[in-house]
């Protein structure tokens, strides 16, 4: 039993829904109790989809448990077949249905439907949403894709994008265009946009582009084994990674096509004078493994940030992220416990968080700016405008997105100069944010965490702040105040000081100067 406040991933059947909803012509018959239909709203509300997800829920209730839930499953399956006329059906159980052991796969098989019926085994009490999507997509490919002659021209499949994915809609477009410029046509993009009849044709591509390892890696490995299709290992998020991805495609295809990189502005935007204020900002990075790995590279090499901490919530990527963190001289935080992430951020006091919807919430509470880089995401992360994360346009979008939460350039200096100005004070937040200013750090920090632990403070209770030093600390702008407090306390502890005076504060400042 594990106490959970917020979860980074839903149950595995929600992953299967992401696959089914991204596809066309596929229907998902889900053995599930009343109430599991809540998952529809993820797609209709958060992603603003204009169709219901193609899912039929058997909706069993307590009174059905003693009687015939298996019969209920079969009639729901038949109704779905009759009404929606899908090309193929996937069948499975949600967490409760798993316990009553009706075997939806076996039941559906006995019905003699004249379309492919693909059974899913998604262990709800062990695995989570990403696994569910990855496994479902793999099973669909395994059942439907047939060996075929390769196309005459060089083509590839794009693997991994799903419904409810973070910017998948626009990444598909950006990468399809990039591949086209390199002389590679896309055979099938799946699961998103594909019908079962498209999946059947996947074997005719020369190789696969694996955009999202979280949701497409099993299928990519299967295609490599079965159809002799190699797959790409670089995920093209960020300028450097996009160049590496292009090199990988050239290697796979022998393409020498010229690429126009004029629209890549991120590199100059990072080098322009105004961006000096970004240099050395300490960032904490958390999300799914793929996006975290990409974000760390962008943060350090393309923005000039200092990566102060990183981690991921999906254990499947733990090894990769641990290795990446080591390259940055860090210990990776691998956890799906929101409270642990909150604690880590509170202790590190970064100047910025690159995270998920969850970390945005942590940032709001601690007064630390946050940009979203990964699922799970909320309605505002599905923008109307074109905003990919991948390719050169993705690099531009990421630059804009990451600097938006920050107090920018000269404004930051002015806040240092006029600390106690009655109008232009730091608690008002960045001037381009209007009413959405971050709250000052102090009161939030003193409340402890979302679920305050008995000892919520990183602060060493033995060190006493003298009044003059405390007053001086308050003059430091909120976005560096937490760090100043922590550095000073660490310095005092190292020097064995029992109290912090004005001098200690400035000794520490000199000690940590960079």
């Amino acid at each position: 039993m594990k106490l959970t406040v917020w979860t980074y991933e839903g149950p595995p059947h929600v992953g299967a829904m992401r696959v089914a909803t991204g596809m066309t012509g596929l229907h998902y018959v889900l053995h599930a109790p009343q109430g599991d239909t809540y998952a529809d709203l993820l797609f209709t509300m958060i992603e603003r989809r204009d169709h219901r997800p193609p899912v039929t829920y058997t909706t069993f209730q307590a009174r059905d448990l003693g009687s015939d839930t298996a019969g209920l499953f079969k009639s729901s399956c038949q109704d779905a077949y009759d009404r929606f006329q899908p090309e193929a059906i996937i069948v499975g159980a949600s967490c409760t249905a798993e316990l009553i052991q009706d075997d939806p796969g076996g039941l559906a098989e006995t019905m003699g439907l004249d379309i492919p019926v693909i059974p899913l085994e998604l262990p709800s009490y062990q695995r989570k949403e990403n696994f569910g999507a990855d496994e479902t997509f793999f099973q669909i490919v395994r059942h439907l894709a047939k060996p075929m002659d390769k196309t005459q021209r060089i083509t590839c499949n794009i693997l991994g994008p799903t419904a409810l994915g973070f910017r998948h809609r626009d990444d598909i477009q950006e990468i399809t265009n990039l591949l086209y410029e390199l002389g590679v046509e896309v055979n099938v993009t799946a699961p998103m946009t594909a019908a079962p009849s498209d999946i059947a044709k996947m074997g005719q591509a020369h190789f696969n582009v694996l955009l999202y390892p979280e949701t497409g890696e099993q299928a990519a490995r299967y295609c490599e084994r079965t159809f002799g299709q190699p797959y790409t290992k670089v995920v093209p998020i960020g300028t450097g990674a996009t160049h590496d991805f292009i090199a990988e495609i050239r290697e796979l295809t022998g393409s020498t096509a010229e690429l126009d990189t004029d629209r890549l502005r991120q590199t100059w935007w990072s080098r322009s004078v105004d961006s000096t204020y970004l240099t050395g900002k300490r960032v904490f990075i958390f999300g799914d493994g793929t996006h975290v790995k990409a974000a760390a590279r962008i943060a350090r090499d393309e923005m000039g940030f200092e990566v102060a901490g990183m981690g991921c919530y999906n254990r499947e990527m733990a090894r990769d992220i641990r290795a990446t963190a080591k390259e940055y001289g860090l210990e990776a935080l691998i956890t799906d416990d929101y409270l642990e992430v909150e604690k880590a951020i509170e202790a590190l006091q970064p100047e910025m968080i690159l995270g998920t919807q969850m970390e945005r919430h942590i940032g709001k509470r601690l007064g630390i700016p946050c940009a979203v880089i990964s699922a799970p995401v909320h309605v505002q992360d599905f923008p109307a405008r074109y905003s990919p994360q991948m390719g050169f346009e993705g690099a531009n979008v990421i630059f804009d997105t990451w600097i938006h939460p920050l107090v920018m350039g000269l404004e930051e200096h002015l806040l240092h100069m006029f600390r106690d100005d009655f109008e232009f004070h730091d608690a008002a937040g960045p001037s381009h944010h209007g009413g959405h200013a971050p709250k000052p750090l102090e009161p939030a920090a003193s409340e402890g965490g979302s679920m305050p632990a008995e000892v919520a403070h990183v602060q060493d209770g033995n060190v006493i702040w003298l009044a003059a030093a405390e007053k001086e600390l308050k003059k430091i702008p909120f976005f560096v105040r937490g760090k100043a407090r922590r550095n000073t306390e660490t310095y005092a502890a190292e020097k064995g000081l029992g109290e912090i005076s004005l001098d200690t504060l400035y000794e520490a400042k000199a000690h940590y100067a960079r």
Binding site: M1, R52, S124
Partner: protein, 427 residues
């Protein structure tokens, strides 16, 4: 006191035939109620004993994370908990100890059963008794089921309130108990009206915290402010309390009828009643008249969601000039919904339960001007050109009593106003 009221229709819907279908139900389970209950009962923590799905539902329904410090969480069952129930009880004790150590401010803990915990027959009643003994007197531990196999959406609040009734102290005092979780601002308005009518003492279930002194007994009269409290109604009657049946306090008419039923029971004179209610009634009528203009002569179709459908259909048809095509409710209790059904003019199809695909067929066929439905259906129906009102907003917004009557009409009018504005702009 009824002289200013619109007469009831010659034929209401109380004896109308009810369409009962079963199939896929597009509704939330009772766990969803935790989202408002944990804000209402301020010293309570709601611990769902369930699966990752339960945790995911709660954060999805809560708009992912609108609350800084949620007083709810999920003890997620894992593979090892399914193997042996004794171990699951030990695990639960450990989880509760961990929780209460972290949150010393918690005085009431609700263990909330879920589909998986019910299917594996994890006895939360026994766990609650054991934990109450362990943590008494500081923390009281109760349990109820919010599972989808037992409860639909707002029935979660019903189950929660019903679980509190047996532990209320006994009293012989003649008191009014008002039952149902309301936003504080609305609750205060209601208490103000009752005080002005000279009715008292008044207690409210759920109370804002555990220290409020309230009891129940044979002289307790109770009124419901929410139409989904069937089990709580039964639990209070078992303690000897008497229900004051009335239409629910939505709109000017519903509020007046609700207050009038209580006033009659407590012997309030017509003169005093009229004096107290005259000004707010006038304000409410005026506000409704302004807000409901886009609703006049329009049709409405209710998908089942919160059990608020019947009283709201009564409000929309009698006070806002709408006509109802279908009024679907997850469950219909005659003792609770009867007075509203009496007032709802005959005509609409009354339906209980749901086969969502068949109901969508009926809705598309009828093409109502406004469809009231859940979040899973709203955008797809909008995309088909049907204007919708998300039903969940009716549960999360202050809509009861006089001063909110205009707001309630506005909630329904806004989708139609938007359609007009955007339609004009597009031309």
């Amino acid at each position: 006191m009824t002289d200013q009221m619109t007469p009831p229709p010659a034929l209401g819907c109380r004896s109308a035939p009810v369409l009962k279908q079963r199939g896929q139900r597009e509704v939330f389970c009772g766990l969803t109620g935790i989202i408002w209950l944990h804000r209402k009962i301020q010293d309570a923590f709601f611990l769902v004993v369930g699966s990752r799905t339960c945790a995911h539902l709660l954060q999805s329904a809560a708009g992912v994370m609108i609350f800084a410090e949620p007083r709810f969480g999920t003890a997620i069952l894992e593979e090892s908990d399914l193997a042996g129930l004794n171990d699951a009880h030990a695990e639960l004790d450990r989880t509760v100890q961990q929780l209460l150590a972290r949150r010393p401010d918690i005085r009431q803990l609700f263990l909330v059963g879920s589909c998986p915990s019910e299917v594996i027959k994890l006895d939360l009643n026994r766990a609650a008794e054991r934990l109450t003994q362990e943590f008494a007197p500081k923390v009281r531990v109760l349990e109820y089921s919010g599972s989808g196999i037992e409860t639909t959406f707002t029935q979660g609040e019903d189950a929660c309130l019903a679980s509190m009734v047996p532990v209320l102290p006994k009293t012989d005092a003649r008191e009014l108990m008002v039952v149902g979780a309301l936003p504080d601002v609305v609750e205060d308005q209601m208490l103000g009206l009752l005080e002005d009518l000279g009715i008292g003492p008044v207690t409210v279930l759920p109370a804002r915290n555990i220290d409020s002194e309230m009891g129940v007994g044979p002289n307790t009269m109770f009124a419901l402010t929410q139409p989904f409290l069937g089990d709580t109604h039964a639990a209070l009657e078992r303690r000897g309390a008497t229900h004051i049946a009335a239409p629910f306090p939505f709109g000017e008419e519903g509020t007046t009828a609700w207050l009038a039923a209580i006033a009659k029971e407590f012997g309030v004179s017509d003169e005093l009643f009229n004096k107290v209610t005259e000004a707010p009634r006038r304000r409410a009528r005026q506000a409704i008249a302004q807000a409901s203009e886009p609703l006049n002569a329009k049709s409405v179709f209710f998908f089942p969601d919160s059990q608020l459908e019947i009283p709201l259909a009564r409000f929309l048809t009698r006070e806002c000039g709408m006509s109802a095509v279908e009024v679907g409710s997850p469950y219909i209790h005659d003792a609770l919904h009867g007075p509203d059904l009496d007032l709802l003019p005959a005509g609409p199809q009354i339906s209980e339960g749901q086969d969502v695909d068949l109901q969508l067929d009926r809705c598309r066929e009828a093409r109502p001007d406004l469809t009231v439905c859940g979040l899973g259906l709203a955008n797809p129906l909008e995309a088909e050109g049907l204007s919708t009102k998300w039903a969940i907003e009716l549960v999360f917004t202050p809509v009861h009593f006089y001063e909110q009557a205009g707001d309630l009409a506005s909630l329904f009018a806004r989708p139609l106003r938007r359609k007009t504005i955007l339609g004009v702009a597009a031309e």
